[in-house]
C-alpha cells in the first residue's frame, strides 16, 4: 500500500501585480502562531510569498490576498487562481480598507465576479464558523468595525464563491488584515485571541 506524503501547512500570501499586496506583512506569522498554538496541524514556521502569476501557487491549499488599492488580476494571475480553485484550493481575500465604498472592495468584487462568479452572502451558520472554534454569530467583528473606521458598518456576513458545498473564494470586508497584522509575541496582551477565526479559515481550507 502506498501511503500519502503529507507536508506541513505553509501559509501562502499571494502577490499580485496591481495594488499593495504586502500591506499586512505580519499577519501570516500571527496566523501560523495561532495554528501552532491551538491545533496539531504540522505547519512551517514562516509563510511564503508567491506570485499569483506563477504556477507555484497551485502548491498551496490556501492563498491569502489583501490590499487597499484597486485590485485586478492579470491574465496569468486569473488563469492560475481559477486553476487553483478548480483543483480544490481556497482563496481568502480581505479588504484592508474596511470600506464598502472603497476602491479595493469595488474592484475586488468585480474581479471575483469576472474570474469566478458573483459571491453570495455566506450564512452565519456555515461550517466555516464551527470548523475549529465555534462562532455562533458568524464572523467575529473587528475593532476597526466597532470603532467606526472605514464605512462605519459592522458587516453581518462574509461573502463567498461556492464550488458545490465548498467555499472556493472567501471574501471579507471586515479588515481582518488590520486586526491580525501584529507580531505574534504581542498576542499575550489580549484577553481573547482575535486570530481564532483565522484558525477556522485555515482548518476549513485544509479539511474541505
Amino acid at each position: 500500500m502506498v501511503g500519502w506524503i503529507v507536508s506541513d501547512f505553509i501559509f501562502c500570501t499571494g502577490r499580485y501585480e496591481s495594488g499593495d499586496w504586502d500591506s499586512a506583512p505580519t499577519l501570516p506569522a500571527n496566523l501560523i502562531d495561532s495554528v501552532a498554538r491551538y491545533t496539531e496541524i504540522g505547519c512551517a514556521p514562516v509563510g511564503v510569498i508567491v506570485p499569483l502569476s506563477s504556477e507555484r501557487i497551485l502548491e498551496y491549499p490556501l492563498v491569502y490576498l489583501t490590499g487597499h488599492l484597486p485590485f485586478r488580476f492579470t491574465e496569468a494571475e486569473r488563469r492560475n487562481v481559477k486553476k487553483l480553485v478548480d483543483r480544490g484550493g481556497m482563496i481568502f481575500i480581505d479588504d484592508h480598507n474596511h470600506d464598502i465604498g472603497g476602491v479595493f472592495h469595488k474592484t475586488a468584487l468585480e474581479e471575483i465576479t469576472r474570474t469566478f462568479s458573483a459571491p453570495i452572502d455566506l450564512p452565519n451558520t456555515h461550517p466555516l464558523y464551527s470548523s475549529f472554534f465555534k462562532f455562533d454569530d458568524g464572523p467575529p467583528a473587528t475593532s476597526h468595525e466597532l470603532n467606526g473606521w472605514g464605512d462605519n458598518l459592522v458587516h453581518k456576513n462574509l461573502k463567498a464563491v461556492m464550488r458545490g458545498d465548498r467555499i472556493a473564494v472567501l471574501y471579507s470586508n471586515k479588515d481582518y488584515s488590520s486586526e491580525w497584522n501584529y507580531h505574534p509575541d504581542n498576542k499575550r496582551f489580549s484577553a481573547v485571541d482575535n486570530t481564532r477565526f483565522g484558525v477556522n479559515i485555515i482548518v476549513y481550507a485544509l479539511t474541505r
Partner: protein, 664 residues
C-alpha cells in the same frame, strides 16, 4: 357448356370463396385479439404501452385461423372432389356429372351432358357458399366494430371504452397516450428580435432563458397535468387538441407531462444570455507620469452573443496614501449600439482636466451593457489601465533629473586614464633616466592609491564597515559585520566580489608603481579596471516592499520543546466530482433496465440528461441521442457508448505493466 367446364367454373368459385372465408375469419380473429388485449390492458397495466407486441400476437392468431380455413378448403383442388361436392348438393344429377367427367368418350356422354345441363349448378353453388361467406364477413365486421370501440389506438382515436381507464371523463382523444405526438413552439424573448421556432416531437427543448414555450398535442386536455421543478401548469383546450405553456427556466429542468397513466418527460435545455465582452484596445499598458499633462486616446471593442445596448468608459480617480484613500468616479456618455452584436467606442481623456496631484492614480476601464431586458442588462468590464502621478520622492523610478556619477563610475574612468599614463611611461622607459622613472611612476602610484581608497570606501559602505578604517590587502570584509543590526544573511545579499577583487588588484598595482616597476603594475591595473566595470554594470538591488521576516518558533508556541507534534487524522475531503460519480452509478442502473423496463430506462436517461446539461454537454448530447433512438426504435448502442465515455473520461495510459501481468 360441357360438364367439365361447369366443374372447372365451380372449382374457381369455391377457391375464391375459400380465400374470402379464410381472410374474413383471419382478420376477424386479428381484430378480436387486438380488442381483447386493449380491454385487458385497462385492468392489467403491464400489458399497456406495448403496441407492437399486441399487434404481433393478433397477427399470429389471425394467420393461424386463416390457414386453418385454407387447409380445410384443400379438397377443392381436385376436380373430382368438386364434382362430388356438386352431386352432394344437387341430388337430381344422379351422379351423371361424375360419370360424364369419368367417361367423356362414352356413347352415353351426350345424354349425361344433357342431364347436367338441366341442373342449375351455378345457382346451387352460390346458395351454398352464401351462408359460409356471410358468416366470415359478419365475423370480420363484428371484430372490426369491437376493435373500433376498444381503447386500442388502431383507429387513431379513443374508443368508446377508453374512458374506462380514466373514470369515464374523456369521451374524446387519442386512444392510448395523448403524449405520443407533441409539438413545441419556442418564442425567444422580445429583446432578441428572433423568430419563433417549432420543434416536432422533441425529447429536449433548447432555448434561451426566458423564452416562451408552448407545447401542443392531440386530444382533450382533461386528465392531463404538467410539472416542472415543483410548479404545475394548466392545460388549455386548443380547439383541435391540448396546449400547455411555460417560460424557459434559468437552469436545466425536466418537464413531466402526464396523461392518465401515461407520462412523458421533456428536457428543458436553457441557454443563458451570455454577458457581453469588452476589451480595452487603447491604452495598452499602465504608465507613471511625473506631471499630469497627457492626452490619452481611449478605445475599446465590445461583443455580445445577442445584441449590445451600449458602452462607455469609466475613470476611477484614487487619491491618498497609507490607509486613507478617497475615490471619485467619472463616466463618459453611453454610446448606443442599437442591438448590434459588435461595436467599438473611442474617447479622449485629458489628464490635465482631472486636476490630479502627486500620488493620484487614474484607473480607466470600459464597460459594456447588452440588451437583455429580461434578466439583465448583462454587464462587462474590461481590464483596467492605471495612470499614476509620481510622488516627488520617487525619482529612482521616474528618473527625470540627471544624477551625479556614482563613485564606482568615476573610479573606473580614473583607472582607465591611469592605465594609459602607465602604458605611455612603459614605452618611454628606455629613453628616460632612472630618477625621472621613479618620479613619474611614484606620481601614478599616488593617484592609483587614491582610487584604491575610494574603492575601499565604497566597499566598506556596502559591507557596513567604518570609513577610513584601513585593511590589509587580501583581508576580506568581515561578513558578520551588519547594517544596523540586521541579520548576517542580509549582508550576504549585498556582498560585492567584483569590488573586492578590484581592491586587491589596486593594492598590487600601487605597490609596483611605488617601486618604479610600471610594467609589472599594468596587469594588475587592467584586472582592476575589468572588475570595476563589472561592479559598475551590476544590477542594483531594490529592497523596497520586502516585508519583515517573522519566524514563528513552533516548538515554543506549542510548549513542546524539541519534540515534533503530530497532526490528527483528518477526514478525507469529499471527492470533487461526486456528481459525476453519482451519474455513473445511475447510468449503469439505467442500462440494466433497458431490457426489462425500457420506459423506466428512458425516464432515467432523461432525468440524467437534465443534470448533465450543466455538468457535461457532451454527455447530455449523447443521452439525448440515445433517448431519441429508443423512442424511434433505433439502435441506441453507439450513443450509449458515447455517454459512458463522456462519464468515465478518456482512458489514460499508465507507464509500466499492470500488476496482473507478473511484470515489474
Amino acid at each position: 357448356m360441357t360438364a367439365v367446364e361447369r366443374v372447372a367454373r365451380t372449382q374457381r368459385v369455391l377457391g375464391a370463396a375459400a380465400i374470402v372465408q379464410a381472410l374474413g375469419w383471419g382478420f376477424a380473429a386479428t381484430f378480436a385479439t387486438l380488442a381483447a388485449l386493449s380491454f385487458a390492458s385497462l385492468v392489467i397495466h403491464e400489458l399497456d404501452g406495448n403496441a407492437s407486441s399486441h399487434l404481433n400476437i393478433a397477427l399470429a392468431i389471425g394467420s393461424v385461423v386463416a390457414l386453418v380455413f385454407l387447409w380445410r378448403a384443400r379438397r377443392f383442388s381436385s376436380r373430382d372432389r368438386v364434382a362430388l361436392w356438386i352431386e352432394e348438393r344437387v341430388p337430381s344429377l344422379q351422379y351423371s356429372l361424375v360419370t360424364a367427367l369419368e367417361h367423356r368418350s362414352s356413347p352415353f356422354a351426350p345424354g349425361l351432358e344433357a342431364t347436367v345441363e338441366k341442373a342449375d349448378v351455378g345457382r346451387t353453388t352460390l346458395a351454398s357458399l352464401q351462408r359460409r361467406v356471410s358468416w366470415a364477413v359478419g365475423a370480420f365486421l363484428v371484430a372490426a366494430a369491437l376493435l373500433y370501440v376498444s381503447p386500442s389506438a388502431a383507429f387513431g382515436r379513443a374508443g368508446l371504452f377508453s374512458k374506462l381507464g380514466v373514470g369515464g371523463k374523456s369521451p374524446a382523444g387519442p386512444i392510448g397516450s395523448k403524449l405520443a405526438i407533441v409539438e413545441a413552439r419556442v418564442t425567444p424573448p422580445a429583446y432578441t428580435n428572433e423568430r419563433a421556432a417549432v420543434l416536432d416531437d422533441p425529447s429536449s427543448i433548447p432555448a434561451l432563458v426566458g423564452s416562451r414555450i408552448e407545447i401542443t398535442g392531440h386530444g382533450s386536455p382533461d386528465g392531463m397535468s404538467a410539472s416542472l421543478t415543483g410548479s404545475s401548469f394548466t392545460f388549455t383546450d386548443a380547439g383541435d387538441g391540448w396546449r400547455v405553456s411555460m417560460t424557459m427556466p434559468a437552469k436545466p429542468a425536466a418537464l413531466t407531462l402526464k396523461d392518465r397513466q401515461y407520462e412523458r418527460i421533456i428536457v428543458l435545455d436553457p441557454h443563458p444570455d451570455a454577458p457581453p465582452k469588452i476589451a480595452l484596445t487603447s491604452p495598452l499598458r499602465d504608465t507613471t507620469l511625473r506631471v499630469a499633462q497627457l492626452v490619452i486616446k481611449l478605445g475599446a471593442t465590445a461583443t455580445d452573443d445577442i445584441g449590445l445596448r451600449g458602452a462607455y468608459f469609466e475613470y476611477l480617480i484614487t487619491t491618498g496614501s497609507g490607509e486613507i484613500f478617497s475615490a471619485r468616479t467619472v463616466t463618459t456618455p453611453v454610446v448606443n449600439f442599437d442591438g448590434s452584436r459588435r461595436g467599438s467606442i473611442n474617447a479622449t481623456l485629458d489628464l490635465g482636466s482631472l486636476k490630479l496631484n502627486q500620488g493620484d492614480v487614474v484607473s480607466i476601464r470600459a464597460i459594456a451593457q447588452d440588451g437583455n431586458t429580461l434578466s439583465g442588462p448583462g454587464l462587462a468590464t474590461s481590464d483596467t489601465r492605471t495612470f499614476r502621478i509620481a510622488m516627488a520622492s520617487e525619482y529612482d523610478s521616474v528618473a527625470v533629473d540627471a544624477a551625479a556619477p556614482l563613485p564606482i563610475d568615476t573610479t573606473a574612468m580614473s583607472q582607465r586614464m591611469l592605465i594609459m599614463m602607465t602604458e605611455k611611461l612603459v614605452k618611454e622607459m628606455p629613453k628616460i633616466t632612472r630618477k625621472e622613472l621613479v618620479r613619474r611612476s611614484g606620481e601614478i602610484g599616488d593617484l592609483e592609491d587614491k582610487i584604491r581608497k575610494r574603492v575601499e570606501e565604497v566597499l566598506y559602505q556596502l559591507e557596513g564597515g567604518e570609513e577610513g578604517a584601513e585593511e590589509e590587502p587580501g583581508t576580506p570584509p568581515d561578513p558578520s559585520k551588519t547594517l544596523e543590526g540586521e541579520e548576517s544573511d542580509e549582508v550576504q545579499a549585498v556582498q560585492n566580489p567584483d569590488l573586492f577583487e578590484a581592491f586587491n588588484e589596486l593594492w598590487s598595482a600601487v605597490r609596483s608603481l611605488q617601486i618604479a616597476e610600471p610594467d609589472s603594475a599594468l596587469p594588475h591595473m587592467r584586472i582592476a579596471l575589468r572588475a570595476l566595470d563589472r561592479a559598475r554594470l551590476a544590477n542594483r538591488l531594490y529592497l523596497r516592499g520586502m516585508p519583515p521576516k517573522v519566524v514563528v518558533d513552533i516548538a515554543r508556541v506549542r510548549m513542546s520543546g524539541k519534540e515534533k507534534g503530530s497532526a490528527n487524522v483528518r477526514t478525507p475531503r469529499t471527492p470533487q466530482d461526486s456528481t459525476r460519480l453519482s451519474l455513473q452509478r445511475r447510468f449503469s442502473d439505467a442500462v440494466e433496465l433497458i431490457e426489462s423496463k425500457p420506459a423506466d430506462a428512458i425516464r432515467s436517461f432523461t432525468l440524467m440528461q437534465v443534470e448533465a446539461l450543466s455538468l457535461s454537454p457532451q454527455l447530455a448530447t449523447a443521452l439525448g441521442e440515445a433517448i431519441d433512438a429508443f423512442r424511434k426504435g433505433r439502435d441506441a448502442t453507439l450513443p450509449l457508448l458515447r455517454a459512458r465515455r463522456a462519464l468515465a473520461g478518456d482512458p489514460t495510459a499508465a507507464p509500466g505493466l499492470p500488476a496482473w501481468s507478473g511484470g515489474l
